[in-house]
Subunit: 221 residues, 2 copies
């Protein structure tokens, strides 16, 4: 039988039988994620420098797609397929991340079906597509713009569903205003403004390419 | 005080105080929607014929975007902003549609937050964007392909969230296998295969346009 242990999440009456508190401190968790992400970005920045024809913008995009793709596949992928992460009895890093993040949004610990659905689409479809985008940018594939628009719109749609369902359900899933602001609003905001910039950038490129194609066709007819 | 009236929806223990049963028959509701849709499509098919340079494929797309855009804005828009549609005491057509459709998916009557969110994004953002697509195709705007991809991917994402959340919650929202198949699976399937075809078609056009642009740039450098 699993004992009901006090958890730090809101709403207080959320039932999490077998809950085991975080082992690592917030600083530990954020440092590991931060340092790992910096290493990935630094590696990709250097690696992309080997391709002579890439602009700095393209190289920055390759860094973003690597970072967000690995986050989707590894971190969010772990969450989707680990319904019992909050019972984890050892300081396993991925479980710690979600135990900690649930302070900003307890729907993660509660296995809310909308959160699992959005995270599932993100981890399984968008994650690998992000890594394909890195390859497409590096090798200047003709599908590089439309692929980036497709993934970014998916990220924006997912984020919209994530926030709107929370609002409709009373917006009361954060342990405190601190976690609400830093985990729920601030951390997620990167997946609002970065995809928006990418959609605008790639949209313009596509529109100018189609314009050229239309003009070329008009000339030959 | 509102009396609890028996409703035809599953799960049986769903609470719908003040529920008023359908006034119109299934045949009435489907006929009105079917005839109205046919009129809209017939009008757009004829109207689009006035534009001399449009292919039959483009004209078909204009019919689809008009039909789906009006469905999103009017029918789904009504649902999103009418939380009490199931209490409607007069045979108001839009309320009847959703009372009837809820037999296929009771989450509509139950005001499930995910369904409202997906329908809200669809009605408020995608609906007007569909009508913009009609205009963009007719006037051969350079953004016509990317706009169609963006809307179609949104429809596909919404449909994925719609089905996956239902599955995660036990897939038990239909009044019978008949309603499950015809309303929930068959009716929604149009918003799976049609957007998929459109994404593939427009994706190819964009890729060939970008390829042409890349080649043109390579020549001039």
């Amino acid at each position: 039988m699993e004992l009901q242990v006090d958890h730090p999440y809101i709403p207080k009456d959320l039932k999490l039988p077998g809950f085991v508190p975080c082992f690592l401190s917030q600083l530990d968790i954020l440092s590991v994620y931060g340092v790992a992400s910096l290493l990935v970005v630094a590696f990709m920045w250097n690696f992309s420098g080997r391709f002579p024809k890439l602009s700095k913008g393209d190289r920055l995009l390759m860094c973003w797609w690597t970072f967000t793709g690995l986050t989707h596949m590894i971190l969010e992928g772990y969450f989707v397929f680990s319904p019992n992460f909050y019972k984890q009895k050892t300081p396993f890093f991925f479980a710690e991340v979600w135990k900690e993040y649930s302070k900003g949004d307890s729907r993660y610990a509660a296995r809310d079906s909308t959160v699992i659905t959005v995270e599932g689409i993100t981890a399984v479809l968008e994650g690998p597509a992000c890594l394909l985008a890195v390859y497409a940018i590096a090798t200047k594939k003709s599908y590089r713009y439309i692929l980036q628009v497709a993934i970014s719109l998916g990220q924006l749609y997912g984020t919209a569903v994530y926030f709107l369902t929370s609002i409709l359900e009373g917006d009361n899933f954060s342990a405190s205003p601190y976690y609400y602001f830093w985990y729920y609003v601030f951390a997620n905001s990167f997946w609002c403004w970065i995809p928006t910039i990418i959609v605008v950038r790639c949209w313009k490129r596509i529109v100018s390419a189609v314009q050229l194609q239309d003009e070329t066709k008009a000339k030959t007819h």
